[in-house]
Symmetry: C2
Subunit: 377 residues, 2 copies
């Protein structure tokens, strides 16, 4: 029986985690849940999963929950999440908190010496080197639960590094990969929010439309698996059935496939190293009939190319890229800039920051404030 803590339990990953866990009452016990603002969903989850500890951002919501469940230990605020991480006997924490806010919790979990199932990709993009170093020190596992890195984790698991020629990340291509660059000029927010395969929050959906998301994943793959940027390739695969591939020096490529459903990588991470019988349906290639592939057009998706440049320079720049993208996407969603200006906005921020070769955690955690302050001047 593994004791599980879920940070961000009311979001898409959090809900998928609870859904898949509910098939294995003998394997997993939900010890704690944390939510942001969705009090009602959290209350529903408490009734079903009976955690001993919860945390919610707002103090009044916390008191309300406390009144409903008198025997429950209820924390609140950012400190509440830190309290949760430090409750005893947790075997694995799911960090599904969205955005750069997730980083400090990833760090706390690693420092606490607990295995982490990581959905918050900002953590690794912003502080990859530092987190991997700390994880090694603490002897804990970072188990990615996005489908691409989960696939790479398993594909690379038993392989010596010197036999790896390259890794290939697949990308759905988002809603625009078939559009002409000229057509992208007048793309609306609602065009960009309609993703063909994955149903996700607005920020990651826009990141998917610009392929910034895949750029982040390239940087993540570099830090998580120690692969040179020259050996990380991106290929557009609209069906999202092949999650990633690894090419061996002998010319063989190994791929991981499943239906595009986050519950597969989530269960993989939580049960690791054990494999559990999935309650989800098998992939039926006869029904899918075809898997297609296309080279990404770097003119149309300059942020993908830019991510490689930023990744290669390293230092503080991947963190800056992550925050710059937060800012630019917010501007696009609120109608302040056009779709194709997202890139200019981001490039502008990244190119105007002072380069820091070895940023420490404090620097990275303060980066958002600093950049936003700088922009207001």
């Amino acid at each position: 029986m593994k004791n599980i803590l879920i940070l961000g339990s009311t979001g898409s990953i959090g809900r998928n985690t609870l859904d898949i866990i509910s098939s294995f009452p003998d394997k997993f016990k939900i010890k704690g849940l944390s939510a942001g603002y969705n009090k009602n969903e959290l209350i529903k989850q408490i009734k079903i999963f009976k955690p001993e500890f919860v945390s919610i951002l707002n103090k009044e919501s916390a008191e309300e929950i406390k009144n409903l469940f008198p025997s429950l230990k209820v924390y609140y605020g950012e400190e509440g999440i830190i309290e949760l991480i430090n409750i005893p006997d947790i075997d694995i924490v799911v960090n599904a908190i969205i955005g750069s806010a997730g980083l400090k919790y990833t760090y706390e979990i690693i420092k606490a010496g607990i295995d982490i199932a990581l959905a918050n990709k900002e953590s690794i993009v912003m502080a990859g080197e530092l987190l991997i170093r700390e994880a090694k020190k603490s002897k804990i596992k970072i188990l990615p639960i996005d489908s691409e890195h989960s696939a790479l984790f398993h594909l690379l698991e038993d392989k010596e590094k010197n036999i790896i020629k390259k890794v290939i990340l697949t990308a759905s291509g988002g809603p625009f990969f078939e559009k002409d660059i000229k057509e992208l000029k007048d793309v609306t927010v609602s065009d960009a929010l309609s993703h063909p395969v994955w149903n996700m929050g607005p920020k990651i959906t826009i990141d998917s439309a610009t392929m910034m998301n895949k750029g982040f994943e390239v940087i993540e793959a570099h830090y998580l698996f120690g692969i040179d940027y020259d050996n990380i390739e991106v290929i557009i695969h609209p069906e999202s059935v092949i999650h990633s591939m690894v090419e061996i020096i002998d010319g063989e490529i190994y791929a991981q496939l499943s239906n595009p459903d986050m519950r597969y990588p989530i269960l993989n991470a939580l049960s690791y190293p054990e494999k559990l019988n999935t309650p989800l349906p098998s992939l039926d290639l006869n029904k899918i009939e075809r898997l297609t592939f296309r080279e990404p057009d770097l003119n149309k998706f300059p942020l993908l190319k830019f991510s490689y440049e930023v990744g290669r320079k390293g230092g503080n720049l991947p963190a800056v890229l992550s925050i710059a993208d937060d800012i630019a996407v917010e501007k696009f969603l609120s109608g302040k800039i056009k779709f194709l200006e997202i890139y200019d906005e981001i490039k502008n921020i990244v190119n105007n920051i002072e380069f820091v070769e070895k940023p420490d955690l404090e620097y990275i955690l303060n980066l958002e404030k600093e950049i936003k302050g700088e922009l207001k001047k």
Copy 2:
């Protein structure tokens, strides 16, 4: 440096083996070659690869070769092949002899305690249980060098058996998978000999057109990897880029992909467990653009369905199936029966033989003569 012996060096697999080996003069030394009737090709190979031992079926050819290369040790006949197997210091033998004749050499190689790179699939179909048992006793590796089983070998290598849900063998589908069953009635020999992907000998090309070949591979997979017939699936994949897949109980499917070229699995087997840098081009999925999949139509390919029935019954029947297919394909190639009658011919032979639960090697080696004698009555 590995000392290599190639049985059947002038056939398609033999020539591919020498081709790929020639890129690694520091890794492999050709100690011995055996050929059937293609004396001129063997002479060419001797000049290039300078083996110390050769064998050829015909005695006069052997004498001619001896005169050309006085310092070469030249054997002949079936005994010549046995002599080759028993020369000292061989690290691995490639058995690329075609047809049921290959079985006795597979047995000799295993008995001699030498690792075997096995292209002769008749060996495993006809005597799988016995050969696997002997291989375990001799502590040698059977390394399949057809692309499907080579893929399965690597995909299953580090995985515990209890996490395997099923294996999926891909099939090109041969030249007829898109044809209507009515159109198959009047298929000519030359129609059946034009394979869309692989360029192979006539017997295996017809076996591919009837999908008998895939039926044999199902039986092979059962014996080589100990997988239940219920957990072996066949899927038509005309591009032959995915060579096989393994589905894990957690719902993830792992696949091996490369360009359809026999030299990949051959090098894999010869270098095992080491991985060598292939001189062959990488698979470029951007160029291939699409991989397609189709369920095999068992009405159109009754031999595939029949193979499962024969495999499940086991005993002597897989061996009988192999020989019955030799006989039926020969009849088709010489115009004695029509394409759709191949199945009837085979079914007739298999259904009329006496069932033997535990056939020994002698029984299996004599089976061809016995069946042919029976048919002449």
